[in-house]
Amino acid sequence: MTSSRNSRAGLPQPLGNSGGHDSANLADILERVLDKGVVIAGDIQVNLLDIELLTVKLRLVIASLEAARQVGIDWWEHDPWLSGGSGKRELEQENQRLRQRLADLDRDALRELDEGPDDG
C-alpha cells in the first residue's frame, strides 16, 4: 500500500468491481466534504437545514452508490431530485412520445378496419 493519493483503494474491490472506482471515490469524497470538515459560519449562510436534508438524502445514495453501481443500479442518475429535474423531463417526454405512438397505432388500426371491406 503506497501513500499515494492516486491509489486510494489499495485492496481489491468487493464483488470483483471493474471500472467503478471513480464512483467509489465520489461516494467517499461527498461523505467527507459534505458531512465532515470543520464547520464555521461563512457570510453566506446556506440554510443548514437544507444541507442537512441534502446530506440525509445523499447519505442514502452515497453509501449505496458503490455497491449499487456494481450491480448496475443507477436510478439516482434519473432521479429528478438528484439530477436537477432533467430525468423527470425526459420521462415526461418519453411518456408523450409513447402516447403519440399509441394514438398513431390506434388510428392506423381503425383505418385498416375501415378500409378492409373496400379492398375485398
Binding site: L11, R32, S83
Partner: protein, 259 residues
C-alpha cells in the same frame, strides 16, 4: 460592470511555504490564493456570486453533477494543501463576502484552529469499508436441516431455516466488523464508525457492515495498511476496502476534542 465575487474557503493551515505552493485552481477554476491572519493561512478562491452566491449555492447543491464537480475540486485543493503541512479542511460551501471577513473568522476561531492543527499534525486519515455477503454464508447450512416431511412442511421448514441462517450470518458479520474495527482502533490515534448505509438501497449481496475512519500517525501508516490486509484475509465473508490517504476531514472538527 464585472461579475460580483465571493470568497470560497478550502482549508486553514499554517507555515505553508507559499513559494512552493503550486499554481492550483479551485471550484470555479479560479486561481487559489492565501489570506493570512492570526498566524494562520486560509486557502481561498474568488468565485462568481452568480454561481456561488447564496441563492445559486442552495440551488446548485441539489444538482448532483454540479455537486460532484465542486466536491472533487474542493477536495483536490484541500489535498494539495495537505501535502504541504497540517491542514484543517473546511466543509464544502464555506463562503465569505470578502477577504476581510475571512481574516475576521481566522481571528475569531484562532484557538479552535490551533487545536485542530495540533491534532492532525503528522497524522493521516484512512477509510475502511467492510462488505459482508451474509446471503452466501446462509445458503450453506439450509438444505441438510430439512428431514422427511410433507412438501408444504418442508417448504416452511426450509424457509424458516433460511431466515434464521440469514439472521445468524448477519450477526456474525456484525461481530466480525466489530472485531476488525477494534483491531484497527488499536493502531489509530482516533477511530470512528460512521453510519452504515440503508440496507434496502443496497444490493443484499454487498451489505456494508463497517464504515470506519481512522486517524493514523504517519509512521504507522504501513502497519495500518498491512493490518487491513491481514484482517481481510482472516475474515472470509468480509471484504475490506481501504481508502486514503485523506486530508483529516473526519478529525479536524472542533467538536471532536479527543487527545
Amino acid at each position: 460592470m464585472g461579475e460580483q465575487h465571493v470568497v470560497w474557503l478550502y482549508a486553514v493551515t499554517r507555515r505553508l511555504d507559499v513559494a512552493r505552493f503550486p499554481a492550483t485552481t479551485g471550484v470555479a477554476r479560479e486561481p487559489v490564493r492565501i489570506v493570512e491572519a492570526a498566524d494562520l493561512m486560509a486557502v481561498v478562491g474568488s468565485v462568481g456570486a452568480g454561481e456561488f452566491g447564496e441563492d445559486a449555492l442552495r440551488r446548485n447543491l441539489e444538482d448532483l453533477a454540479w455537486l460532484e464537480a465542486t466536491a472533487r475540486a474542493h477536495d483536490a485543493v484541500v489535498d494539495i494543501v495537505n501535502h504541504f503541512g497540517p491542514t484543517v479542511p473546511l466543509r464544502l460551501a464555506t463562503v465569505y463576502h470578502d477577504d476581510d471577513s475571512v481574516r475576521a473568522s481566522l481571528v475569531a476561531h484562532r484557538g479552535e484552529f490551533d487545536t485542530a492543527l495540533r491534532r492532525v499534525t503528522g497524522r493521516t486519515e484512512w477509510g475502511v469499508k467492510g462488505y459482508a455477503d451474509p446471503d452466501s454464508i446462509a445458503n450453506h447450512s439450509v438444505e441438510e436441516q430439512v428431514g422427511d416431511v410433507g412438501e408444504g412442511t418442508a417448504y416452511l421448514l426450509r424457509r424458516r431455516a433460511r431466515l434464521s441462517a440469514l439472521q445468524a450470518a448477519e450477526s456474525e458479520a456484525a461481530a466480525k466488523a466489530h472485531r476488525i474495527h477494534e483491531a484497527l482502533s488499536r493502531i489509530a490515534v482516533v477511530a470512528k464508525r460512521q453510519p452504515v448505509p440503508h440496507a434496502e438501497l443496497l444490493h443484499k449481496r454487498a451489505k456494508i457492515v463497517l464504515n470506519g475512519t481512522y486517524l493514523v500517525d504517519n509512521e504507522r501508516a504501513d502497519e495500518f495498511a498491512d493490518t487491513v490486509r491481514t484482517l481481510d484475509d482472516q475474515h472470509p465473508g468480509i471484504e475490506l476496502d481501504l481508502t486514503g490517504p485523506w486530508p483529516p476531514y473526519s478529525f479536524a472538527g472542533v467538536d471532536q476534542m479527543s487527545p
